[in-house]
């Protein structure tokens, strides 16, 4: 145990170089900074979506529709333009905006019982994610004009009836059911929260696994390259102790960085989602989320943590083997590529494929990859599928111990030094 701890200490000191720490801290700080900037921009931005309007009809009806659009409930900041639409569209000083044109004959069409034509332009000056989202509000502007017009038509045709009742005779109550739990809560709010959670967790897990795998394979390769491995192999220390010390040190460093990444990412997501990533925004919403089981309990976090831990350990045990196969530090990155591809597969597929309706083959493929279980752990915990989480952890542990046994075997034999040479000689024999 003493020698194990000495080796772990040495490994950590070798891994924690300024060249490693400084870029990592910079990335984490950058995440936080970007999040803060986005948050500040969102706070300072005037409320409501910007809507430029050219009213060519200038009728009573168009004025009433536009007055209705400016109602605070609609959430538009209407700017009336006197210039023709072509000129408004050409304004370069504006960012992305929506232009609503009410053409001549608007009122006349409604009065004659015909559909009134309106034109809605979505104008792009940049293609950032937030700009794309605000441009999507064009559809909402269209709907608002339509509803406003319908209300006026109903009010004039059926003055004795409540226009709101005629237009919305149903009073929908929105419920969301997750597993067996049912709560009265708007689906839009639940989705917003869930999307932020399903984005945040996998990204952090992905980074943690990738980072730790790179650490351990680089550690093995640089020991081989510097011949410090030969010195260790000829010293009175157990070969298994060597393997476990490398795994433990890389896991410890990776966990430190993962925690820091998590903090930076959380700050980023808070900025992007306006706080929804950290917590539901109101007490009633929090109560609804708790009722649905969407607020993960400490026990749930423990399960997710265990699954992530074993995913990292699996990556470490595989990467140590890949490190043995690499020739030098330069080729170590290439040697880690297969692991990276498998990791990408298990990260991307669950994001875009509904696993319930997926084919059996795809399900088996994803289940065989030990990292998938960590990516799916948060949603399985939320959905109450604890048996799946535990099953995944047991499988991950089995994979980890199998690869560690293989790595220990390679280290305890001369293979750790000769495996590459043997492969080269075999290849030469096949292609003389």
């Amino acid at each position: 145990m003493r020698k194990f701890l000495i080796l772990v200490g040495k490994e950590i000191r070798e891994l924690m170089t300024p060249q490693l720490i400084l870029p990592m801290l910079a990335v984490i700080a950058l995440f936080g900074l970007i999040g803060k900037i986005i948050w500040k921009q969102a706070q300072n931005a005037p409320s409501g979506d910007y809507l430029a309007v050219v009213d060519q009809d200038r009728s009573e009806l168009s004025k009433r529709v536009l007055a209705d659009l400016q109602d605070k409930k609609r959430g538009f900041r209407v700017s009336m333009m006197s210039a023709p639409p072509e000129e408004v569209l050409g304004r370069k000083e504006w960012g992305n905006f929506v232009l609503l044109v009410i053409p001549r004959g608007f009122e006349a069409a409604v009065e004659s019982g015909q559909k009134a034509r309106i034109q809605v332009y979505s104008v792009f000056r940049s293609l950032g994610a937030r700009s794309m989202l605000s441009a999507a509000h064009a559809e909402r502007a269209e709907r608002s004009v339509d509803e406003s017009l319908a209300r006026l038509v109903v009010e004039s045709a059926l003055p004795d009836l409540d226009a709101d009742f005629v237009m919305h005779p149903a009073d929908p109550e929105e419920y969301v059911a997750v597993g067996d739990a049912v709560q009265r809560v708007p689906i839009a709010q639940v989705l917003g929260f869930l999307q932020s959670q399903t984005f945040l967790f996998p990204v952090v897990i992905f980074l943690a696994i990738m980072f730790s795998a790179q650490l351990v394979s680089m550690s093995v390769v640089s020991e081989k390259e510097n011949k410090t491995l030969e010195i260790l192999l000829s010293s009175p220390i157990g070969r298994k102790t060597l393997v476990f010390a490398k795994l433990a040190a890389s896991a410890a460093v990776a966990f430190g960085f993962t925690a820091a990444y998590m903090a930076g990412m959380r700050s980023f997501m808070t900025g992007v989602t306006g706080g929804m990533a950290s917590s539901p925004q109101s007490e009633s919403l929090r109560a609804a989320f708790e009722g649905l089981g969407l607020v993960i309990s400490p026990w749930g976090y423990a399960m997710i943590g265990l699954s992530v831990l074993f995913a990292i350990l699996c990556a470490l045990s595989i990467a140590i083997l890949l490190g043995i196969l690499a020739e030098d530090v330069k080729t170590a990155h290439m040697a880690a590529t297969p692991l990276l591809l498998v990791l990408m597969l298990s990260y991307m597929l669950p994001l875009f494929v509904d696993l319930h309706s997926a084919s059996r083959g795809l399900k088996v493929l994803l289940a065989v990859i030990p990292f998938t279980h960590a990516f799916l752990a948060p949603q399985n915990v939320v959905l109450g599928r604890t048996a799946w989480v535990w099953g995944g952890i047991v499988y991950q542990a089995a994979v980890f111990f199998a690869f560690v046994a293989l790595a220990s075997r390679i280290f305890s034999k001369e293979l750790v030094m000769t495996i590459r040479l043997r492969l080269i000689l075999k290849r030469r024999d096949r292609n003389p």
């Binding site: 003493r2 020698k3 000495i6 040495k10 000191r13 070798e14 924690m16 170089t17 390259e225 510097n226 011949k227 410090t228 030969e230 010195i231 260790l232 192999l233 000829s234 010293s235 009175p236 220390i237 157990g238 034999k413 001369e414 030094m417 000769t418 040479l421 043997r422 000689l425 075999k426 024999d429």
Partner: protein, 241 residues
């Protein structure tokens, strides 16, 4: 006492036979050298005795310990210095010596004494408190040589101990080896530098193509082959015509 016995040692990597049934013995307190060109099988032999590689055939014993069955015990009586090895760049020289010493011994006073001995041998003075990444090649080699002998191994195995060093650093390394040998430490070294081997070794084996061509003292070999130096002996051995 016999420090090392190598009997018909063979090492193959697939079809490639790097060492072909070599035999030699080293007595305690002796400096024994394997000398030969690059690719002769010197490093493979040393790595095998250092328990890094496994013999394909033959038998090796170190102070009576069998390499095949007692490799762990062998590791506690040997110390190995690979050719052109590096050290942990982010440790200071002193921390490196302490780390390595702690793999060989538990007791603090024993450990501190070894580190102090290694520090003195290295001749690096105040530079020992600096990170190894700031060291020159010569400084690193001196640190590694000190590391190899600071735990007073019964058999020190040095692969090309002066390879890549300038004249002054190589001279210092040779002087250190000679003075430790006088104190009774057994050395097995490899080199392709015949003059170095002549200066350092008590006995030597000339090795080429995985085979030992001759084994004796330098003076006996020169006399046998009527040569002025070891280079001439080597040339006559490999090119008899």
């Amino acid at each position: 006492m016999q420090a090392l016995s190598v009997e018909r040692l063979t090492k193959r990597f697939g079809e490639l036979e790097a060492v072909r049934g070599i035999s030699f013995e080293v007595q305690e307190g002796e400096v024994f050298a394997l000398v030969g060109p690059n690719g002769a099988g010197k490093s493979t032999t040393l790595k095998t005795i250092a328990t890094i590689l496994e013999p394909t055939d033959g038998r090796v014993t170190v102070f009576g310990l069998d390499l095949g069955t007692q490799a762990e015990q062998v590791r506690s009586v040997i110390s190995y210095l690979p050719e052109e090895a590096g050290a942990y760049r982010n440790l200071t020289g002193r921390d490196y010596l302490r780390f390595m010493a702690s793999l060989f011994m538990d007791r603090e006073e024993q450990l501190s004494a070894s580190v102090e001995y290694g520090a003195r041998l290295s001749g690096l003075g105040g530079r020992l408190e600096e990170k190894i990444r700031t060291y020159s090649k010569g400084m690193t080699r001196k640190l590694l040589l000190s590391r190899t002998v600071m735990t007073r191994p019964r058999l020190a195995i040095l692969d090309e101990p002066t390879s890549g060093l300038d004249v002054l650093n190589a001279f210092e390394v040779r002087r250190t080896i000679r003075s430790l040998a006088k104190e009774g430490m057994t050395f097995l070294i490899s080199s392709h530098n015949m003059l170095e081997v002549e200066f350092l070794s008590d006995r030597l084996a000339i090795i080429a193509d995985g085979r030992i061509l001759a084994c004796d003292t330098a003076s006996a070999l020169k006399e046998r082959f009527k040569a002025g130096n070891l280079e001439e002996v080597f040339v006559r051995l490999v090119e008899p015509s």
